[in-house]
């Protein structure tokens, strides 16, 4: 009996009313992947627009709505909640030896907030004066005066924040209170550590964006003036508040992906993780330091010179714990008996693409370079390397790693590898071209471009189409596996964390007997046990 068949209710109600953390994880997975493909489609439309200069397919205003909606969906509905809400919900309780999270009903409520927020954002596209055209950042003062349906879209993002907060609150309490006997802090799998750091950002930073978005709505409704220069308000303070949340939010996105990679690499290198404590505490260090660097999004905004220097310095410091992780992964691989099966392939791709994303990030952390690169395609390329090459690849790797455990089915490994080829090639064509275009001076968010950027745009567009094909192959393979896949074994990859020690798919309450933990994780012992 597994969680997929057992339960008090039947049919769709057994899912949408379930408080089982595993079912909620699957609910999130299905909703998110659907939204992901809508945003991919919008991305493809944007690339079609950039194919030609002479006969644009879409009106400029439509293009503005495209990049706003693409950004809002990808950031707030896929990358941000992605790994915590899907794999965190599903595996955190199992990995620490618990039957569920601390507050199962709040957990379900968080999914409803997610759906409600999504519904509001979608409603903002089709009601009122048309879809928001501000970009996902909702910068004041334009967001205060834009005639489009900004208020509703902003309110949707606000509601999505509740979902994020509840997940974070649940995870912190679960990790503090529900670890199995003997599961000391330093015996927790590193995925749990990364979720712990993430959860703190969710709890402490999300309210800041919450109040900021509420203020935008209050400005639009009552004209309170706090961001309105005509009334003495300072739009720069909007940017400060926005990035006080949204920069740490970048770490909400990347930390759990790093955590998943940290699970996958030792499993496929058959070797214990190198520098357990360094990785564990670097997660917390990233969470903390990452909360203090928000100003590097504002170097050209007219902020004071001293603030520029401080934020630039802090930005370089935050690279240290990120690099610690990369070094530890490579050190784990060293002299391991590496087996490159699909999860590992995508995990290694993560390391490669994230390294490019991270290093281009450092380039922008330097003030002089930033002035040249700000608001160009370089930025767009950089954050896609981090968000998509990082979090996205981490999500795919995690999905391939845990899919057999979650659904009890095996997918076709060859097709998973085969889909990697267009994904990898298309990805680098699209986003590396953007890095070059930005360096040449192509500004972001323009619906068209000057002739000198023509070649770059065509390469990027073709890459984008190849990438989209790869993504469809990737997910089609998994959908087919759900229908026709062979039954998965309990431990297909030879993992050693707790989720591999229970049946596949997991039973309703994970453990019939709560295990007692008396050793560190990641002990690979080929001879015994």
């Amino acid at each position: 009996m597994s969680y997929l068949t057992e339960g008090r209710r039947k049919g769709i109600r057994s899912w949408i009313l379930s408080t089982d953390h595993k079912r909620i994880g699957v609910l999130y997975l299905v909703s998110m992947v659907s939204l992901f493909f809508i945003a991919v489609l919008i991305g493809v439309l944007m690339r079609i627009e950039q194919l030609t200069i002479e006969t644009p397919m879409f009106e400029p205003q439509t293009y503005n709505a495209f990049f706003t909606v693409h950004g809002v969906i990808m950031i707030f509905m896929f990358v941000l909640p992605g790994l915590p809400a899907v794999f965190g919900n599903f595996f955190l309780p199992i990995m620490i030896g618990a039957k569920d999270v601390s507050f199962p009903r709040l957990n379900l409520l968080s999914w409803y907030f997610f759906i409600a927020g999504t519904g509001l954002v979608v409603a903002s596209l089709f009601t009122g004066a048309g879809p928001p055209d501000t970009g996902w950042t909702f910068y004041a003062p334009f967001s205060l005066t834009s005639g489009t349906n900004v208020s509703l879209g902003v309110f949707g993002a606000f509601v999505l924040g509740f979902s994020s907060i509840l997940t974070g609150l649940n995870f912190i309490t679960t990790i503090h209170r529900l670890r199995a006997p003997g599961m000391k802090w330093h015996r927790m799998p590193l995925f749990a550590w990364s979720l712990y750091g993430t959860a703190w950002i969710q709890v402490l930073a999300t309210p800041i964006i919450g109040i900021t978005l509420l203020l935008v709505i209050a400005e639009r409704l009552f004209g309170i003036g706090v961001f309105d220069p005509a009334k003495g308000g300072d739009p720069l303070l909007y940017q400060h508040l926005f990035w006080i949340y949204s920069h740490p939010a970048v770490y909400i996105m990347i930390l759990p992906a790093m955590g998943a990679i940290t699970e996958i690499i030792p499993t496929f290198a058959r070797k214990t993780i190198f520098g357990y404590k360094a990785i564990a505490y670097s997660s917390l260090a990233i969470a903390f330091l990452g909360s203090l660097v928000w100003g590097h999004h504002m170097f050209t905004s007219g902020m004071s010179e001293k603030a520029n220097l401080v934020f630039s310095l802090l930005t370089f410091i935050v690279a240290v714990p990120s690099a610690i992780k990369v070094f530890n992964w490579t050190a784990t691989l060293y002299k391991g008996s590496i087996e490159v099966r699909p999860p590992m392939l995508y995990a290694l791709t993560f390391v490669f693409l994230f390294a490019i994303g991270g290093l281009t990030g450092l380039m922008q952390g330097a003030l002089a370079v930033n002035v040249q690169l700000h608001d160009t395609y370089f930025i767009v390329g950089h954050f896609h390397y981090v968000m998509f090459g990082g979090t996205g690849m981490g999500f795919f790797a995690a999905l391939l790693y845990w899919f057999p455990k979650m659904f009890g089915k095996t997918y076709n490994e060859k097709i998973a590898v085969f889909a990697w080829v267009p994904i990898f090639i298309g990805f680098n064509m699209l986003y590396f071209a953007m890095l070059v275009l930005g360096y040449m001076g192509m500004p972001r968010r323009y619906f068209t471009h000057l002739p000198q950027y023509r070649t770059g745009h065509i390469i990027a567009s073709i890459g984008g189409f190849i990438l989209a094909v790869g993504l469809v192959m990737f997910f089609a393979n998994l959908v087919v596996a759900l229908k026709r896949g062979r039954k998965a074994e309990q431990n297909p990859w030879g993992g050693v964390t707790l989720e591999w020690k229970i049946p596949t798919p997991p039973p309703l309450e994970n453990f019939s007997i709560i295990p007692r933990i008396d050793d560190r994780p990641y002990r690979f012992n080929p001879e015994g046990s």
Binding site: R8, T19, K99, D100, S102, F103, P104, L106, I165, G168, L169, N170, I172, T173, H176, R177, L178, P181, V203, L204, A205, T206, P207, I208, G210, I211, T212, L214, L215, A218, F222, G223, I224, G225, V226, K231, G232, G233, D234, L237, H240, L241, I244, L508, E509, S512, I513, I514, R516
Partner: protein, 206 residues
Amino acid sequence: MSTSSSTPSLVHKDYEGGKLGMWLFLFTEILLFGGLFILYSAYRARYPLEFHEGGQHLNAVIGIANTLILLTSSLTVAISLTALQKGERRRSLLCLAATIVLGLGFLVNKYIEWSGEISHGLYPNSPLMAQRPQGDQIFFGLYYTMTGLHGLHVIAGIIALSVMLGFVLRHKVTRTDFNKLENAGLYWHLVDVIWIFLLPLFYLAA
């Protein structure tokens, strides 16, 4: 080997976990108001004279009266929990009811105060406001936002405490199972703490 029963109801009565969860929620409230305190500090630094002047238009008497009301209501809700833990259910119920009444009193004062100011034309986007110096407009914008958001929290707190009153009456919250009342009390105290900061920032700014 420690075991737990495998009933499918999944009832973990984890008292400390429940409290930790509530504190984490309070942290989000602190940061929610924190965003506004960040704005306040920035604008106070920019418009010190206007904030000083703006404070003179507020009714300090009502502000101070509301402070006393909230401090006292914090006392009664704290006593209510101790009384329940000691098994003095009647006293607990009375104190809880007193807290709710005090909360309502706070709202009545707030209504009198706001309607007075609005009748003088002192509200965001009013014709009078448009003629005032910019720092003044910001002061009143923040004043209405911060006290308004706080007022919404008072309303939420009153609702939560009323639900608790019902729970205690129906023996759903008892001497041994008081986590819910404790959490509602924590929420109410936090609302009080925020007001403790609002008083000097606005009413005593003059």
